[in-house]
Symmetry: C2
Subunit: 175 residues, 2 copies
Amino acid sequence: MDIDQQLLAAAERLFDRNGFNATGMGKLVREARLSSRTVYKHAGNKNALMARVLAERHRRFFEHTDFSTTTALFDSLAEWFAAEGIRGCLFFRAEAETGGDIPEIAAEVAAYHRELTERIADLVVRETGQADAQLADQILALFEGATTAATYRGAAVIEAARTCACQLVNARARP
Amino acid sequence: MDIDQQLLAAAERLFDRNGFNATGMGKLVREARLSSRTVYKHAGNKNALMARVLAERHRRFFEHTDFSTTTALFDSLAEWFAAEGIRGCLFFRAEAETGGDIPEIAAEVAAYHRELTERIADLVVRETGQADAQLADQILALFEGATTAATYRGAAVIEAARTCACQLVNARARP
DNA sequence: CTCAATGTAAAACGATCGTTTTACATGCGT
DNA sequence: ACGCATGTAAAACGATCGTTTTACATTGAG
């Protein structure tokens, strides 16, 4: 299905760069070089398309990101932004734009957040030898904060967050 | 100007809860209990109204927030969310929804970010005796990250971020 | 008393929204 | 060769968008 990839890629790019509500289906149809009939046949409707964009982003993000060590986690984030541009977290933005009122979208956002917190919790166990909810929350905050603050402070924030997160983990390192 | 306050309050509440683009002027007029004629006489147009909402939010946020110590900073954030609800940073959301394409809005967002980073830089100088760009970026990341992550993890993230930020500052405390 | 300012209520503006439909072309399996 | 699925191009749908306008009420100052 080349068409599905074409559609998803155009939708992700437009939604990410210009916002969900600000991106009309007309502009999307034009940019994807498809007819509206085909778009609606493949995507159903705009909300479902947004949900599929988030699902695809979810898959691609966790495929890219290395959760094996704290250093690798933040290095992956820096690489992601170097390749994709720094516009903050698409999941948070989707939730905010829709007020959490569209179930299909809220579900994708929740799934992303669930996996992100789980992976960080696992990372903490792996690096310190025990679960530590507060440490996991701190790394999560640094991760989210680097994602947001980098939009106006640049990549230096990611490096700063990485340094901080590694210090936290090392201070509790497996003896 | 009771009308200005009425209008600004309704606009801030609707924009914050439901998003900027998802909030139509019709709904806003209804909720503010004003005529559309009066709204446009006072606000000019929707973009200017959004900009004024951000300017008012900016004023109110820095009026509320205590930048005198790191602990106080994060405590202020927790209080803000306890009073206003946890929906993430309105400035970041405004910038994301508009793609940075509306100058009046981009300017207000930039002004907020400028003051936030300045205040944190000053806080670092005050608590450690010297400027430290990386430390300031770390506190900024923790602050932004707590704001974002609290939307789905709750207030515990703010407490975790506060603990982390205070450790960072204490490790570099004035000798 | 009058005039100008300021407000409301409601209709109307053209534009654009998300979505469906009509009409037609193409290719593929039986 | 036929029929059906799948695509395009484009018109049309009602709804809603941001904004302006028309018609009228209230009020405070000169």
